[in-house]
């Protein structure tokens, strides 16, 4: 009997099939272990790593931009082991060693965003595509932050936001690749509302002047919610274009509107101009509805307070951080910054510095620059020592949850820098909220195939 040999048996087909599956599916994973490390945007292959600083060096928020730049340069120096090390020694836990990031010396490129969202986006694109920036950071406007973090999500590059206070940044416009250390308008409302109630009572009529873009809108909404919950009535909410210099046409209607509180949802130079002009219009000397007329600036910084001079005395607002705090982190940062530049750091400088260190620390903990791993290292990360007490980088919306400061313009400053007093430090639990209230989707963590 002759055995008939057939070309294919069921067993052979199965064996070949399995081998094929293993060969095409598993083997590449074995042979290219760690290959993802080479296949993402701007993977640093040399002995340096480049950060992209997107700074508003001109325009309405230029003062904040200039202070941020100083902070970034200081942070990069500290990461490279230069200077006194700043906050590296007090950040806990920390993986930072003061030898760059993963042993690579840190360098930077920068771009002037001119306080304009389209210019900020173009600058970030250039720094990613031409200069090879592994991470983009900076900005003093929520308009810029939202525009740039959208771009960074598309290009697979992490964005560590600078000063941005709109609820939308980590709300409806949040992105997997975007992270915010700064607080937001909702938290300002929660922190400031009770103080306004204590100081000015519950029977007040408020008139809002609001910068006409995402930040102004969400701050107006948050402060309206907070003050109306106290029993205040909102008389009017008027939008003003970003970069307005002469507010007289917006201030004259306030005088006879029946309002007894003016709430200025402005920031930077807009705030300096609107506040000083409101005071020139005699609003702080007025009586309305049988009460002293009051002005409130829900978000205020020492740079703005300094610019507004006498006008800011006694005015309430909120801040992310203040250089005069007496915790070890704030003392260390103020000492480093003051010694380097001869003035105390602003809240914009503080958030810029902290964001740089937090990114570097996340890379060290992840052991790679590969963005999805760095994102994992940042999401849900608990740390302290950076001047805001115990802080959580919340995984659900990439918003840092920490305490918020209520501040007041100093009535009797002892120096040109002593312009704000911290009235209250509102604890982290009080300003924590459900991330679902602002909606939005973080999106995927996998990087784009090209950048």
């Amino acid at each position: 009997m002759t055995k008939i040999s057939r070309g294919l048996t069921r067993r052979k087909v199965l064996q070949t099939g399995m081998a094929g599956i293993i060969g095409t599916g598993v083997a590449p994973l074995v042979f290219s272990k760690g290959a993802w490390a080479q296949e993402f945007c701007n993977n640093p292959t040399g002995d340096t790593v480049t950060l992209g600083l997107n700074l508003p060096l001109t325009g309405t928020y230029a003062e904040e931009g200039a202070d941020e730049q100083k902070a970034y340069e200081l942070a990069i120096a500290h990461l490279n082991g230069e200077g006194d090390g700043g906050l590296i020694a007090v950040l806990a836990p920390t993986a930072l060693k003061g030898n760059g990031i993963l042993g690579k010396k840190v360098g930077y490129v920068s771009s002037d965003s001119q306080t304009k969202s389209d210019v900020a986006r173009a600058g970030a694109t250039r720094m990613i595509e031409r200069d090879g920036a592994i991470m983009i950071t900076g900005g003093s406007s929520s308009g810029e932050a939202i525009a740039v973090q959208g771009l960074c999500q598309e290009m697979g590059v992490i964005f560590m936001a600078g000063l941005t206070h709109s609820n939308d940044t980590t709300g409806k416009d949040k992105k997997r690749y975007g992270f915010r250390h700064f607080f937001n308008a909702y938290q300002s409302g929660v922190a400031l509302g009770p103080i306004l109630g204590e100081q000015y009572g519950t029977d007040r009529r408020a008139y809002h002047l609001t910068a006409d873009y995402t930040w102004g809108w969400t701050q107006e909404e948050s402060i309206k919610n907070a003050t109306e919950a106290l029993g205040w009535e909102t008389v009017a909410a008027v939008r003003t274009p970003l970069g307005t210099t002469d507010y007289s046409q917006y201030l004259t209607p306030v005088l006879n509107s029946g309002a007894d509180v003016l709430i200025l949802n402005h920031y930077g130079l807009d705030m300096v101009n609107s506040l000083t002009q409101a005071v020139q219009f005699g609003m702080r000397d007025r009586q309305a509805n049988g009460k002293d007329f009051q002005i409130v600036t829900p978000l205020i910084s020492e740079l703005m307070a300094k610019g507004a001079g006498e006008s800011v005395k006694g005015i309430y607002g909120t801040s992310n951080w203040h250089w005069n705090l007496q915790d070890p982190g704030s003392i260390a940062f103020t000492k480093s910054f003051g010694a380097a530049y001869g003035s105390p750091p602003s809240q914009a400088a503080h958030t810029a510095y902290v964001q740089t260190l937090l990114y570097a620390d996340a890379v060290e903990r992840a052991g790679t620059f590969y963005p999805p791993e760095v994102i994992k290292a940042l999401e849900g990360h608990e740390f302290e020592g950076m001047g805001n007490g115990p802080t959580l980088y919340r995984a659900e919306d990439h918003q840092c949850i920490k305490s918020v400061l209520v501040v007041q313009g100093n009535e009797s400053p002892t120096s040109e820098f002593d312009v704000l007093n911290v009235v209250k430090e509102v604890d982290r639990e009080t300003v924590t909220y459900d991330p679902a209230i602002f909606g939005g989707e973080l999106g995927p963590a996998e990087p784009a195939p090209v950048c």
Binding site: T245, Q249, Q280, R286
Partner: protein
């Protein structure tokens, strides 16, 4: 409601005064030299920076380090001593307090020189060239001036404080025998309006009641005939260019407490002022002044909440809307003359 309308009217006068002052200078140059001067906004800006420079000089300080006291960052505390007060005592303090009006003394000669140098150095070479080329060269000059100022003073606005005594608001309602504390308006803005009115009146009086002004007006009407009479009309026109620069510079100085000077402030005003000149009628001095106040007042009323509730955003476009309407009805503007800027 009267108080609201009155306040907006005051506000309009204040804005109109600024527009009218710049438009007046533009028209002076156009009416005398026939040059469309896009560098005029830059002259306004240069004037404002004369005030900045003057304040810098008046507030020079000596800085010494006090090793006994430390700053919050651990370095010896800087002790600053104002030089002007050390040299001149109370008078020095008064000079610093009134630095803005004092700056006018510096601004007048500087702007006169700048104006004359500009006209003799560059602009005179473009008298017989087409208006398009004049616009290009003067626009270029404006950009150069901006960049020079930016490189010296930086890109950020530099707030200039007004004198302490003039920082508050004037209770105009009480002045008029009405209820106190209802119609109040910033004192400095009232001063700016009065200053503008005096300056505009002064320019008109100079042109109307002096021999120099009479010759200039004659030259504006018929340059050739005045030249044939043996009068050096070019020299007078050069002085008029200098005078226009002085008017723009003085307007810039007095505006600094209202708007912190920055390098592009001239460009912001220039566009509006050209609209004012066109609405008033090219070459017409009364037209420029009238249109300046008209547009300022309309812009102010358009920003009332009641108006914006009906037409949202009207305050941003009212000036251009009115310009279009007026030019449709009167193509030469409110007081434009036949033959000016017409082929």
């Amino acid at each position: 409601m009267f108080d609201v309308i009155f306040l907006q009217f005051l506000n309009g006068l204040d804005k109109g005064a600024a527009y009218a002052l710049i438009a007046l200078g533009l028209t002076l140059v156009f009416g005398t030299l026939g040059v469309v001067n896009f560098a005029h906004g830059a002259l306004f800006m240069l004037g404002a920076f004369c005030a900045v420079a003057m304040r810098m000089l008046l507030t020079l300080e000596t800085v010494t380090l006090d090793p006994e006291k430390l700053s919050p960052w651990g370095t010896p505390l800087e002790v600053r001593e104002p030089l002007m007060q050390a040299w001149l005592g109370d008078f020095g303090a008064v000079l610093v307090n009134y630095s803005v009006p004092v700056s006018l003394l510096l601004t007048i000669p500087i702007m006169l020189l700048v104006g004359i140098a500009l006209e003799r150095g560059i602009i005179k070479h473009f008298y017989k060239r087409p208006h398009a080329e004049q616009i290009l060269v003067t626009f270029g000059l404006a950009i150069v001036a901006q960049e020079v100022i930016k490189s010296i003073f930086g890109p950020n606005p530099l707030p200039q404080p007004m004198p302490v005594e003039l920082r508050g608001a004037a209770d105009i309602g009480a002045w008029l025998g009405m209820q106190a504390n209802v119609i109040t308006y910033p004192l400095w803005r009232l001063i700016y309006f009065l200053f503008s009115a005096i300056l505009i009146g002064g320019v008109f009086a100079f042109l109307q009641f002096t021999t120099f002004g009479m010759v200039v007006r004659a030259g504006m009407a018929d340059r050739e005939t005045v030249g044939l009479l043996g009068i050096n009309i070019d020299r007078r026109f050069t002085i008029m260019f200098g005078l226009a620069a002085v008017v723009a510079g003085m307007a810039g100085v007095m505006y600094t407490p209202i708007l912190p000077p920055n390098y592009h402030m001239g460009m912001d005003f220039l566009v509006l002022s050209f609209v004012v000149v066109v609405v008033g009628g090219m070459g017409s001095l009364p037209g420029a002044v009238a249109a300046g106040f008209l547009l300022g007042i309309l812009q102010s009323f358009a920003s009332m909440n009641e108006i914006k509730a009906i037409i949202p955003g009207i305050d941003q476009i009212i000036i251009y809307l009115v310009a279009v309407l007026i030019l449709l009805v009167r193509p030469r503007g409110l007081m434009g003359r036949r033959g000016v800027m017409e082929a």
